[in-house]
């Protein structure tokens, strides 16, 4: 039985259509005059998201605008939907950086494992749900787009208790 479902005992005698209808009408009247509404007037009001909400990704950046990603390749490895394409590169000092970093948001199942596995806390899933586009191609987010995303990121674990103890 689902939560919050009230089981009503069905009467097997002395039932009354009129009495039942009238009491039903009293219930509807009570709701009619009740000023409390359940509607969320969406474009004007927005729902409060859980801190663990997992939406489209955000790539964290350094202060100078470079991506934090070190192109270690953990996120494409762990991604169960295989939606991350990463081509790693290395600069003169031997620092690794992503040449191509693309996430296909259509393939993504928003499990958040890329954020969990990232050693430098570069890739995050974000608290965002308004991601409509006109074409399918627009759903493949490249590195610039990921860095430009400015919505808050998801908190997958309590920052004070990372191991869950």
């Amino acid at each position: 039985m689902a939560i919050g479902v009230k089981t009503v005992r069905r009467p097997d005698s002395n039932t009354s259509y009129l009495r039942a209808s009238l009491s039903g009408m009293m219930i509807t009247l009570k709701h009619m005059v009740n000023p409390k509404k359940v509607t969320l007037e969406y474009p004007d009001e927005k729902p409060e998201l859980s801190p663990r909400w997992r939406g489209t990704h955000v790539m964290a950046t350094h202060d100078d605008g470079r991506p934090k990603c070190v192109a270690c390749g953990l996120c494409p490895t762990i991604c169960p939907a295989n939606c991350i394409r990463l081509v790693p590169g290395e600069d003169d000092q031997g620092n690794r950086y992503p040449i191509v970093y693309e996430i296909d948001e259509f393939r993504c199942i928003f499990c958040g494992m890329c954020q969990e596995v990232c050693p430098v806390e570069a890739i995050h899933v974000g608290q965002d749900y308004e991601n409509a586009e006109y074409t399918r191609e627009r759903f493949i987010y490249d590195l610039d787009r990921l860095m430009a995303q400015d919505h808050p990121v998801s908190t997958l674990w309590d920052p004070e208790d990372v191991l869950g103890q």
Binding site: R10, P11, D12, S13, N14, T15, L18, G24, T28, V33
Partner: protein, 436 residues
């Protein structure tokens, strides 16, 4: 009796046209606002806001809906019979708009050119005209169902015809006590007999008639406990499944103006029409130049118009309130209620009321007096007894019952031993084959 200047010639012509235009426009605008009210009420009942985007708190929504419906593509089912497919919406909408013409809307209005009766057509057959024209409305629905060449529409049309024909009988029969007391079928005369003769609104002395009339009117308007013709969940939308654009809208307008007329009729027949308690507004046009009762005045006209609108609105609100509360009857339940409950009750009530009136007349009790007097209150008591008996008989599993008592009754064993324990029966309804 006041002698007044009759409306004549050009003034009569112009004022009549203004009246027609005014009533028609008011009905159309009211119908538009009723669609909004229906959506708003349903929303409030379901803890929602309802349409609130177009105009201040959604007040312009009907205009947006109308525009949308006009701009929409008209579709024609390929194998429909085009002539009847076109004719049906017109046949549905015309009777529903015409019937308002005979309903008196307010006290006569004095003008510079004479006293104007606030009814479009005070024809002597008043209510019979309404009954006749509402019967025509069935043809529109049946034709729509038939011409669409769609099985759902066809079923809707069939159901509508059976239901509306059945309930017309009960509707007519429930009105006979009213005619017996008023002694007339003209609606202005019925209003007068409530305010000027009886001094009591017919809802009290003829309450059972009122109840039966309200139920039958719900069925006639195809409103929710009886909306088998539409039945969204079973028949898509029944007879207007294949209609789109303005033709669909016309069925919609017809439904709502039927509801408006039915509400106005209930107010006129049973709640004293435009009468306000107190005798200051008791008046009627006896002849074009003769007024019986109080002196006409503009403020009286406006006040009584307001009272009439309020009474009509009450019934409309009831229509909508019931719609969003009560689920639909099954087809056999509708027929059962119409033929086996409403019709015999109406006939029996005619007998009872007729006998009471005969006895009162023979005893020489005069109609009228303060708040109905002895005549009125005798009828009120007789009616209270009748209504009580009717409700007792109707209820408590006798004539109408919910489904669960029937289920438990059907669970009786062949030997007739009933499952005794209510709690046991509720927890584990034993299947029949095990008992047999």
């Amino acid at each position: 009796m006041h002698e007044v200047k009759p409306l004549t010639g050009l003034a009569w012509l112009i004022i009549t046209h203004i009246k027609i235009l005014g009533v028609f426009t008011t009905v159309m605008i009211t119908v538009a606002m009723l669609t909004l009210l229906e959506r708003k009420l349903s929303a409030w009942i379901q803890d929602r806001y309802g349409p609130n985007r177009v105009g201040p708190s959604g007040l312009l929504q009907p205009i947006a809906d109308g525009l949308k419906n006009i701009m929409k593509e008209e579709t024609f089912p390929s194998a429909s019979s085009a002539f009847f497919f076109f004719l049906a919406p017109a046949l549905a909408i015309i009777p529903s708009l015409v019937t308002i013409a005979v309903i008196p809307l307010a006290a006569p209005l004095p003008t510079r050119w004479g006293v104007v009766p606030m009814v479009l057509a005070d024809i002597p057959i008043g209510i019979l005209f309404i009954l006749a024209l509402t019967s025509l409305g069935v043809y529109g629905i049946v034709m729509a169902g038939w011409a669409s060449n769609n099985k759902y529409a066809f079923l809707g049309g069939l159901r509508a015809s059976a239901q509306m024909v059945s309930y017309e009988v009960a509707l007519g029969m429930s009105l006979i006590p009213v005619f017996m007391i008023a002694g007339n079928v003209t609606l202005t005369q019925i209003v007068w007999s409530q305010q000027g003769v009886m001094h009591l609104w017919f809802a009290l002395p003829l309450g059972l008639s009122f109840l039966l009339f309200v139920i039958a009117a719900f069925a006639e308007c195809n409103r929710l406990p009886f909306d088998l013709a539409e039945a969204e969940s079973e028949l898509i939308t029944g007879y207007h499944t294949e209609y789109s654009s303005m033709k669909f809208s016309m069925f919609f307008i017809a439904e709502y103006s039927n509801m408006l007329t039915a509400s106005a009729l209930m107010a006129t027949l049973f709640l004293g029409g435009w009468d306000i308690p107190g005798s200051f507004d008791n008046m009627r046009m006896v002849a074009p130049n003769l007024i019986e009762g109080a002196q006409p005045a503009v403020w009286k006209t406006l006040l009584t118009l307001g009272a009439f609108a309020l009474k009509t609105f009450l019934f409309i609100a009831l229509f909508m309130w019931v719609r969003w509360t009560v689920p639909r009857f099954r087809y056999d339940q509708v027929m059962h209620l119409g033929w086996k409950v409403m019709l015999p009750t109406a006939l029996a009530y005619i007998m009872v009321t007729g006998t009471t009136i005969l006895v009162l007349d023979q005893m020489g009790v005069r109609m009228g007096g303060f708040l109905g007097g002895a005549y009125g209150w005798t009828l009120v008591i007789v009616n209270a007894v009748c209504t009580f008996i009717f409700v007792r008989l109707l209820d408590n599993d006798r004539i109408m019952s919910g489904s669960s008592p029937r289920i438990y009754r059907s669970m009786q064993t062949p030997a007739g031993v009933r499952i005794e324990s209510r709690t046991a029966a509720n927890k584990e309804p034993q299947p029949r084959h095990q008992e047999a």
